[in-house]
Symmetry: C2
Subunit: 194 residues, 2 copies
């Protein structure tokens, strides 16, 4: 195969449907279940539009419960294994605040809401971003249940995050989140790192 | 602070010096120490150009020991905690091969060479990318030694990677790699996630 080496630039653009969908939402979502249902709907729409894996995530300004940025899994369509929903949402949110750390002095405390518990990579990325609160829908074992590999995470990963002053809330609308994983499975969605 | 929300696109460009430096290299580097010295020189130049943290990494096509893509730490200048050298190099290399997985059928086996052992995030990212061999310079404890946090990695992280059929080679030119970390420390380089 031909390898075009010496690349020095890359770019990622969210799918068009997602930009439109975000525009149509009220960015203020005071209710945690509502915020979770928003990211679950992103996961579902990502399947329906055939734009990636069954995962959605978003970063919220906790002072106003205001959406800063959202992401979906774009591994296959974006040609990079790094484009998990959480990573995409965090990069876009950091771009929005113009800083690499949500805990910088005048930044709002930030919450990451994700439709499925983070894999090893995303779990490692969360403290670096300065996330204050992590809210999860489906469990990592639910993702494993349809064939996804979640990687080599420390055994008590929630405890490891809490030790770093990150609040971890699990099982929010878990049933609805699992339904989307199952939908992907029924559609014979690609299990790219199984 | 003003938050520009609803971002749907981001872009990362390597520093100009790096693009130029790569152009000037012979991309074929048959010797492992030579490949390591290359990424150590990236880490050193990243300090000297004030473009980021003291870390360099590159992805090589193992069939020809040919450079596919290189990266440096761009966390501060690139406004994202995700831009560790390994992540930047892997994204650029995946863009070069046009696929999210180096283990796709007609892709060459790929080696990731990094000036310091991977943090928790990068360690999690390595299996997803389909890396066949990981070559490390400084140890993670050397990075901790100057104040960097390496995150919550599984205790036997090399073993965890080897279990996934990834060869791990440590301590290649470790002294030279540590010297660059110390140089950063002497320059009072920013320890952004300490």
């Amino acid at each position: 195969m031909l390898i075009k080496n010496r690349h020095t630039q890359f770019q990622l653009t969210l799918p068009e449907w997602l930009g439109q969908y975000i525009q149509d939402q009220d960015p203020i979502m005071p209710d945690m279940e509502k915020r979770m249902q928003f990211v679950i709907s992103l996961a579902r729409l990502n399947i329906e539009h055939n734009s990636g894996g069954p995962f959605g995530a978003a970063v919220f300004d906790m002072s106003a419960n205001r959406l800063i940025a959202a992401g979906v899994n774009l591994v296959v369509t974006g040609n990079s294994s790094v484009w998990h929903a959480e990573i995409v949402a965090m990069i876009l949110a950091q771009q929005a605040i113009g800083h690499f750390n949500f805990k910088k002095q005048d930044a709002p405390a930030c919450e990451l809401v994700t439709s499925t518990e983070p894999c090893a990579m995303c779990m490692g990325a969360i403290p670096w971003a300065g996330i204050t609160q992590l809210v999860c829908g489906a469990r990592d074992k639910d993702a494993r249940g349809i064939g996804f590999d979640e990687g080599a995470k420390v055994k008590h990963w929630q405890k490891a995050l809490r030790k770093r002053n990150i609040t971890v809330i699990r099982d929010v609308c878990r049933d609805q989140a699992v339904q989307v994983l199952e939908l992907y499975n029924q559609h014979n969605g690609m299990i790219y790192n199984g």
